[in-house]
Symmetry: C2
C-alpha cells in the first residue's frame, strides 16, 4: 500500500492507495475507531455490489452499521442529511462514533457533511469507489450539498481522518464513470503536471482496460498534487482555487442543463476547453497547446463543445457560482500545459469566447 501525507495544519491525515488490501484497510479503520462498530454511509448501488466483498473489513470484531441513500446527485440535499442524522440517532451513534463514507463524489460530499455536523462534528474516513472520487473529491475536506439554486452551495471544510483508495472498486465502474473521472485527471495534468498529460496520451487505453498499474500511477500522481495544494491552502484563500480550473463554466453548464443528461466530468471537460480557449485568446496559452488539449479530451471520450445557451443564460449561471464577486469572477486561466494561474475577470471578458 502506498501512502501520501496531507499535511494540513491541525488536521493532517494520510491517503492510502492499494488495489484491494482489506487487512491494511481494516487496520487503518480500527486505528481511528473508538467503538466496536462502524457507521457506513453509502448508496444502494454500492451496498448491493460490495456488502459481501467488504465483509473481511468488519467481522468478527467490528460491527458494520449500514445507512444508505438512493443513488444520484439529486439526493445531495439537506433533506437527505437530516434523514441520515435521524438514522444515526436511532442507531445510537455518539460523539465518539466513526463514519465510513463509501461511494463516489455524492456519497463522499454528503457523508462528510453529515460527519461535520452530527453533534457538531464526528470523525469520518473516506473510502472512494469511483475514479472521480479516488483522484479528487475524497481528499481535501470539501463537504456539502446542493441548493435548488446550484451545486455545493451549502457545506463545510471538514477533513477526514484518513482516505483509503482501493482501486479494485473501479472494476465494477461503468466506462461512462471512468470517463467522468478522467476529466479531473486531465485537470491535474493541465494545472500542475505535463508529465501526466503525455502519459495519459499514450496510456489511456490501459485505463479503459482497468489496468491496475496505470490506474495506480495516475491516481497517485493526481493525489500528490491535491495533497500538496490543500495542505498549503485548506480553505481556498488562493492556491487551492487552481483546482477549480474548468469548473466555473463547468458548473454553469450543469446548472443550465438542470443537472440532467450531463456528468460532472463531462461539464468540467467542456469548461476546461472553454477556459483554455479563453486563455489562448487572452494571450496566455499557445495555440498548439490548445489544440493538444482538445485532442486529448476528445481521445478520452469527452465532448469539447459547450452547449449553446445564450450569453445572458451563461451570465446568470456564472453569477450563482460561489467564486463570483459582483460582476467579477476569480477565473482560472492556463499558462501552459502543466501550469495555471488565477485572473480576476469581468463576466464580459469571460464570455467573449462563447460564439466561435
Amino acid at each position: 500500500m502506498k501512502a501520501l501525507d496531507v499535511k494540513i495544519p491541525k488536521a493532517p491525515y494520510t491517503i492510502h492507495i492499494d488495489n484491494w488490501n482489506l487487512d491494511l484497510a481494516k487496520d487503518i479503520i480500527q486505528k481511528h475507531c473508538q467503538e466496536e462498530k462502524l457507521y457506513i454511509i453509502t448508496n444502494t448501488t454500492v451496498k448491493k455490489l460490495y456488502q459481501k466483498k467488504l465483509r473481511p473489513l468488519f467481522s468478527p470484531n467490528l460491527k458494520a452499521i449500514w445507512i444508505t441513500i438512493p443513488d444520484g446527485e439529486r439526493y445531495k440535499r439537506l433533506s437527505s442529511c437530516e434523514k441520515i442524522h435521524e438514522e444515526l440517532i436511532l442507531k445510537k451513534a455518539n460523539r465518539s462514533s466513526l463514519i465510513l463514507a463509501l461511494g463516489g463524489g455524492v456519497v463522499g460530499d454528503i457523508a462528510g457533511f453529515v460527519a461535520a455536523t452530527y453533534m457538531r462534528g464526528i470523525a469520518y474516513i473516506q473510502m472512494p469507489t469511483t475514479l472521480l472520487a479516488q483522484v479528487d473529491s475524497s481528499v481535501g475536506g470539501k463537504t456539502g450539498v446542493d441548493l435548488k439554486a446550484g451545486k455545493n452551495l451549502v457545506g463545510a471544510f471538514y477533513q477526514p481522518k484518513a482516505v483509503i483508495v482501493l482501486t479494485r472498486f473501479l472494476k465494477t465502474l461503468p466506462k461512462k464513470e471512468i470517463i467522468n473521472g478522467l476529466a479531473e485527471v486531465i485537470k491535474y495534468a493541465l494545472i500542475a503536471d505535463n508529465h501526466i498529460f503525455y502519459y495519459l496520451d499514450t496510456h489511456y487505453e490501459n485505463i479503459f482496460k482497468h489496468d491496475t498499474q496505470t490506474l495506480d500511477k495516475i491516481i497517485h500522481l493526481c493525489l500528490s498534487i491535491k495533497a500538496n495544494i490543500v495542505a498549503k491552502d485548506e480553505k481556498e484563500n488562493d492556491q487551492r482555487a487552481l483546482l477549480n480550473f474548468g469548473h466555473s463554466i463547468g458548473h454553469a453548464i450543469e446548472l443550465l442543463k438542470n443537472y440532467k443528461n450531463i456528468k460532472h466530468g463531462e461539464a468540467v471537460a467542456m469548461g476546461m476547453v472553454y477556459a483554455s480557449e479563453l486563455s489562448s485568446s487572452l494571450g496566455f496559452l499557445a495555440k498548439n497547446d490548445l489544440l493538444a488539449i482538445k485532442l486529448l479530451i476528445t481521445k478520452m471520450g469527452l465532448v469539447t463543445a459547450w452547449p449553446s445557451f445564450t450569453k445572458t443564460a451563461y451570465k446568470i449561471a456564472l453569477l450563482k457560482d460561489k467564486k463570483a464577486q459582483d460582476e467579477n469572477i476569480r477565473f482560472i486561466c492556463l499558462t501552459k500545459i502543466g501550469k495555471a494561474h488565477i485572473e480576476d475577470l469581468s463576466l464580459n471578458t469571460i464570455l467573449q469566447c462563447l460564439k466561435r
Copy 2:
C-alpha cells in the same frame, strides 16, 4: 462600551457590551463588513420591534437586507436553514458577505449555522436581544439546529467575528424571558463565581426593573467566565463541559415535555436543582448550599421541582443527549457554590434522586 476578549486560538474576537451605543456598534460592523450591505437574520417579532430603532446602524452607507424566520424553537430545523440559504442566494450574498444574527438563542443558533455552512462558511456577528442570548448563547460559537430526536443534535463550532451586546434590547423583553435568562446567570454563579450568587440574591429585584447598572454588571460577569472557558476549550473536550451544568436533566425534561409549555431556562433550573441534589447525595455538596440554591432559584421565579415522568422515560431521554456514551454520562456535579466538576456517572447513579 466595555470590551471582553475571547482568546480562541485562530478565531479570537471581542464581545462589546453597552446600553445602546449604535455609533460604536456600527463601527464594529463596518470593520468586519467587506461590502456596503449587511444580511440581517432575525425573527418576525424582533424585526417588528427594532427595524426602525436600528436604522442609524445602516443608513446611509450600509444597506440592510432583512431575512426573517418565524418566532419559535420549532423553527430551529434544517428546513429553515435551507430557506435562508436559498434567500441568501436570491439576495446575492457571496463569500465576502457578512451576516448579523439579531435575536435570541434560536436566531443566534440558526444564523450562526447558516453562516457556518453558506458557501462553506462566511462571516457573522452576533447581536443578541434576549437575556439568555446576551449572557450565554451568543458567545462561544456553538451553532446548530434540532432534530426530531432532540435539541442541537446538528451543528458546528463556528465563531462569530464579534458579539455586540446592547442591553437596552432587554427593555422590551417579557418578564418570562428575563427569568428564562436568569437560569443561565445562576448557572455561571454556581459553577464559577459565588460572588454572582450573593449579588443576585440581593439585587434580583433590580433586574426585573431593568436596572441598567445591575444588568450590565451581571452580563459582564457571566460573559467573562464564558469567554475564559471557551478560549481554553473551544470544542468542549473537557473544561467547557462545565457550562452544561443542569443541562443533561434540563434537556431530558424539555424532550419529555416535547418542548411544549417549558422554556429552556425553566428546564435548566430544574436540571440544576436536580444536579445539586445529586451532588449533595453523592457527598460533593453541603446540605446548606443545596438549600441556598433552591431558595435563590425560587426567588428568581423559577420552579425547582422536575416533572414526574417515569425513570425509564428519563433514561431514554438522557441517552439521546450528545454527552451520553453507552450507559455512562459525563455529568456536571457541584462541589460548592461557585465550583463544579465533571463525573462519569452511570444512568442508575444519575437517576437515584428521581424519587424524593
